[in-house]
Symmetry: D3
Subunit: 218 residues, 6 copies
């Protein structure tokens, strides 16, 4: 009981000074989120360090089958982004590596190439037109919200990209993981994708045993 | 020139009476859209018929490989929806038919079963958890924005569903069409999905020659 | 105290796993709402049943003076709608029944006729133009946000409509209830509507004693 | 043709300098509106006078049955409000006068009493609770979006109020005008309001012959 | 512990009746805010007084160096504004007084002159064009969101203005306070403004010792 | 006339194919903007190059007094950003250089350090607290919407930063330019800032003769 009470006090007490302004709203990740983001941490506790994040200074953990390393600066990692409509990631794609087909359900993406050469592409909705481009250091490319896109390394060295998103929590749905890394039976996946059941089974074996770098089951 | 002038007059003249109110904004589909929807048709030209649409009273055209028929009431078909944050479709799924895996980049969906029995499911982002359910007449199910989902007929008769969307233009990206019904080379598709190139080629042949019922190239 | 502590633990503890993504936000109705909706229930507790609702499979309770039965699927009944910008109702209008004049302050409505024949209409703002239409099975009609509208049965059988809204909580203000089913004195109602005080008194007697089907005082 | 061409040039040519910034967007009322407001007038033509409006310095025209005078500063009268989410009105209510029951479908209202004493009230949705208050000079009152509300003069002198809205085009639906000042047949109005047909006919005669001060038919 | 428990009960218990509608959401200032505003106070506790505010009936406290008095009706003072997208202030500018250069990061402002004569101006972004105007009783002026603006008294009597904002918490950043009334070293301020360090020091001494009328340190 | 007609045809004709979807909306900069962005270029004309921009691959033009070079990727330079809620800039700050105090009225900023060492800071509204930090390669920092902020080089080499914004047109108001690079009289600037008139005159001479790199008058 004592622990809950302490947590309770930490969470609910120091709000009197929070009432004045809302020029920013650093997420209090101990409270449940809402459709518009997390409740704000008390303003008086804000320091410059809240607005600072070093997690993209180097590569994140590598996701093995892809030879690509992902580091994220979303609201869960960088709470000052709460309510600001911005998020960021850094992806280091090793030689031969790939960021597999995926979509962000809640945000558009602007990609800036820090190093290397890569191929990027996305597919428009309904027309199914594919927009693909070779990108080099200093190039920008845009992936509109919710559309399937990918990148893969075209060069001999690691390619590094910095991406910003129009949401502090844009979401990430990797098509392979959505199809093969869960309990959907292979015959259902085959039925709704027309991929043969044998190929689905092969990919389920390939993807089903893997986990995301953060360790949560996939 | 005369034609352009006439179009010009039709498009630009009767706006003086449009200035009073904007309790609705029927799309003028002759003018280019904006990120918030189409320009409004002059208010004085609005009649009750603008707010009425009969296009979902029966099945739409069947999309052959799926044995499913789609009829849409989006802003392009039903211009009064412009700016209202609502769209609708009717899908008639024949026995054995399927609405293949797809996502709506710009809207959530609420599905109401009019007839029959079907299986519906979607996959959450990042966790990749699958949420699946058998649905019968009168059931509601919800697909959150941008997430991959599907339905297929479980019964012996045609299943019919009415869906509403939180956008008058939610978009539709069918995973199979995005992967196989465009000019993306098979090796690229294989590289970013890990599906074998042979299977990609088979599916490109299967989907590449088909067109959507409205006849636009896919 | 023990009860509060238990509630406290239920409410505040399991949030660590809620931090990862927000591709959906099932309402936790035990916590207070915000202008953007309810706080999210912990993600790890989500199951397919959260996205499923059977409450519109049959008619709701009948509201006696109207001979119409209303069943709702708003966030309070169907918490998965939280933050998705969608709600739904089913209305069964008996022979001779009516959905009386009302408005939804927070959402537009798209109406789909499931059975029967009815008359639907709404009134534009400022111009006061009335847009009315006879609707049959399969017809769609749209009521833009906040405008007064109505429906009544034109046929010999029950008419049934399914409506979707651009909000998970569009609100409902029935003009008769707003005028006659509360403590506003009859002379005030007469003064601000120009309806005679005698007629107001008659209608207050008619409506004042009734309650909504959910039993809250009106 | 020449006129159309000239209008065309005025409307389409000077946009090259409009591309730089959008810190404001003064409405070009000659072009059709969109769901997010009017297209912007070329920035280079903006002067301080665009941001200035004197139309609320005195009473607007009186609406006879109400003994109230309405002056509006919406986007149609004050184009600089376009896209800013703000509108304003001034209402002068003569002794015995009333602002009859009405709602704003697209905006909330904050009312500030400039002179006099009045009664103000609104009705909540579903609960139908009435919130009423006597207001004096300097008082603020708030009417949430889309809810029915009214004011009437309680004193011996003219009461004057300044109201601001959360929209540059909040709309105005006067219940009496919506019910009685259009072509809706009396029996339909009676059916959907339960007001007797005789009283509806009396009110149609009373309101049906009047026009709004701006002269448009009601 | 007992106090926390009582607070806890007050805060969390009476929500069952809050679930029905959200036609308004009076802020519960005891709970932390979110990016979309404060959690709602239980609906059953709402009374007409919640929608009423008398704090702008007279001048607020004077801010000494400016000879201007500010009274605010934002969500922190007037909780019913929560989620409505509206706020208000009253400023009384004594003879010779000034509302110094400032911006509202989160809202646009519409200013209505209640008494007196003043000069108002704002500066556009990038073009840096200044839009200035002499304003008299009854005049409206608009300051678009986030742009630097000011007012000063031009007459011999106190000028009084009522302003409404497109946010219930528009924020206020006074340029002088931002530059001179905090711990930013004078050389840094000089470096990023090109104002001489001597002048910065003079202004730091002038502003650094003052506090806002609410007493919080500046 | 012929030219206008040709422009007219280019602008208005090819919209029939634009009606299908709006998964993106590339700005047509020849048409006037709206509060939600520019009208869309016809979809059929979209190519991969529309989503690609090379303008941040090197430094932009140097702004002389600051020893900093600014390159922008806003909607005016990169039309595919229209409606996506994203913009970007690259700033190269030479040794001793500074990005002077400024604010973005319409967007928040996330800054990623590409090279060098710099000091960054912003000032909160009302509290006037300053949040400052030394940043090195790979660091992220956030400036919430509308708040005054700055950066200056702390090292011996050029510092380079990539910033993304939550708007495709966030705006830029440099405090010095707003105060000193326009026609506001020195006594007015002094009156609303309390900077001495002599210092204002010095700064007007310093800034008044300069122009932005794009050549528009400041």
């Amino acid at each position: 009981m004592a622990k809950a009470a302490v947590l309770f006090l930490l969470v609910l007490l120091p709000f009197s000074d929070a009432l004045k302004v809302q020029d920013f709203c650093i997420a209090n990740l101990l409270l449940p989120s809402t459709p518009a983001g997390y409740p704000c941490k008390p303003r008086a506790l804000a320091t410059a360090n809240d607005f600072y994040f070093r997690g993209l200074a180097g590569p994140g953990p590598t996701v093995p089958p892809f030879n690509a390393a992902l580091a994220s600066a979303y609201v869960a990692q960088f709470p000052a982004l709460n309510g600001l409509g911005l998020g960021a990631t850094r992806v280091d794609i090793a030689r031969g590596g790939v960021v597999p087909l995926h979509a962000h359900p809640e945000g558009s993406e602007i990609l800036f190439v820090l190093e290397g050469t890569l191929s990027a592409g996305f597919v428009g909705a309904e027309t199914n037109a594919a927009y693909t481009k070779t990108l080099n250091k200093g190039d920008l490319f845009v992936f509109p919200q919710g559309l399937l896109h990918y990148q893969y390394n075209l060069g001999n060295a690691t390619a590094v990209v910095f991406s910003a998103y129009s949401s502090s929590d844009p979401g990430l749905q990797v098509t392979d993981f959505a199809l093969f890394a869960n309990l959907l039976p292979a015959d259902v996946v085959s039925k709704v994708t027309f991929i043969t059941e044998a190929e689905v089974m092969r990919l389920k074996r390939f993807f089903g045993i893997r986990s995301l770098p953060t360790g949560q089951p996939i």
